[in-house]
Symmetry: C2
Subunit: 233 residues, 2 copies
């Protein structure tokens, strides 16, 4: 898939009714991609699509569907469901996602009185669980540390943050890096194979600790990595 | 320990003959702290101290010792040994480090043809292993993502990077944040308890993947975290 000289890929966001999924739907629909919000609850998916649509300037394509239809009709499938629905959702879309890029943005997190922590995942990480459940798809992990608040903020024209992109299939990670770049201010940086995804997912618990201590919405920046290197990588 | 109005603490760096440990010795000795480099091999420790000393402008205190003497005579003990010497070194200094702050900078890493990855650690992370082996010390995890090259570079007047500081004892993490701040350009940001250290340690494998792809020495910056919040935290 080459974004530069081909039709823009259509995006199906499973869990697009949530904060991060909805924010991605908003940004990509505004960038001109055909986006569909998928949910177990089709009524909620339709409501989210209508609500997000009102915030987008200019013509755009933003629709809604059930989980399976959403995955089946999209070129690229985004998994943005809560962690406790991760396994079930992926099991359900195995056939619909065959041969496609699946972007997993899920952070396995648990909470107690001391704050957030990364629970043990048998496969090692959410991304590795996704690849195990979708052996015929190209799983790419990304967007773990993006502030959903900033992403959904219609007054924020750019979302200045670096997105770590992980995956085992080189072409798929490059496509996702290009999808990241369609959101103004964002850089997609390749940051390893899926077997190293646990640290990237788990770091979200550390960012939550930072946010709690400093009362902020902290993000991650990668210093000393050149855009130029990005463009030619 | 209050750095502002008390004598500066003395630092003992176990593994100060290595790149990161040596870089910290250089920066802290130059900042005026009494520093001792500790190693199993006292001859190598003495050579490292002499070599680093020649790069420091002005009066300073930089000595060398064996592992146990180094830990016993320091106010703050830094663990900068290779991962495969981690468990043995900590077991050896248990009595010497009693009641002290122990800064663990070790990244458990393994390598194969596909690059670096985080091996499984029974205790969860190097930092948790250290706390288990040193139940009477205050373990603080920090400095995982600092470029040893930049740290040791005498021509680099500042090391502009954020250091995630993790620990279970609040006062100890504050002291380490102040020690971080003694190195020009560095900020020490509290980023969670020891149970969340695995992600911070493991992220080093992702930075190695970034460095490999982009041919750089990438570092981590925390965006949207204010110095002011840092100063008052």
């Amino acid at each position: 898939m080459q974004l530069d000289n081909a039709p823009l890929p259509s995006i199906g966001i499973l869990g697009g009714t949530g904060a991060l999924g909805g924010g991605l739907a908003f940004r990509w629909a505004e960038a001109g991609l055909p986006v569909t919000i998928g949910s177990r609850n089709e009524q909620r998916a339709a409501e989210a699509a209508a609500r997000i649509s009102t915030g987008i300037k200019g013509p755009h394509s933003l629709n809604s569907a059930g989980l399976n239809e959403c995955a089946a009709n999209a070129d690229v499938v985004v998994i943005a469901v809560p962690w406790d629905a991760h396994q079930e959702t992926l099991t359900q879309i195995r056939d619909a996602a065959r041969g496609k890029i699946v972007i997993d943005v899920v952070n396995p997190l648990a909470f107690d009185k001391s704050g957030a922590y990364a629970p043990s995942v048998p496969e090692g990480s959410a991304a590795q669980q996704a690849q195990a459940l979708l052996p015929d798809s190209h799983v790419v992990a990304a967007f773990h540390h993006v502030s959903a608040v900033l992403l959904a903020d219609h007054t924020a024209e750019t979302v200045d943050t670096d997105v770590m992109v992980l995956g085992d299939d080189l072409e798929s990670t490059k496509t996702v890096q290009e999808l990241v770049r369609l959101i103004p201010g964002m850089r997609g940086i390749f940051a390893g194979k899926l077997r190293t995804a646990a640290a990237v997912e788990g770091l979200t618990a550390n960012l939550i600790a930072v946010n709690r201590r400093y009362r902020t919405h902290a993000g991650i920046g990668l210093t000393n990595v050149e855009e130029a290197a990005h463009a030619t990588a």
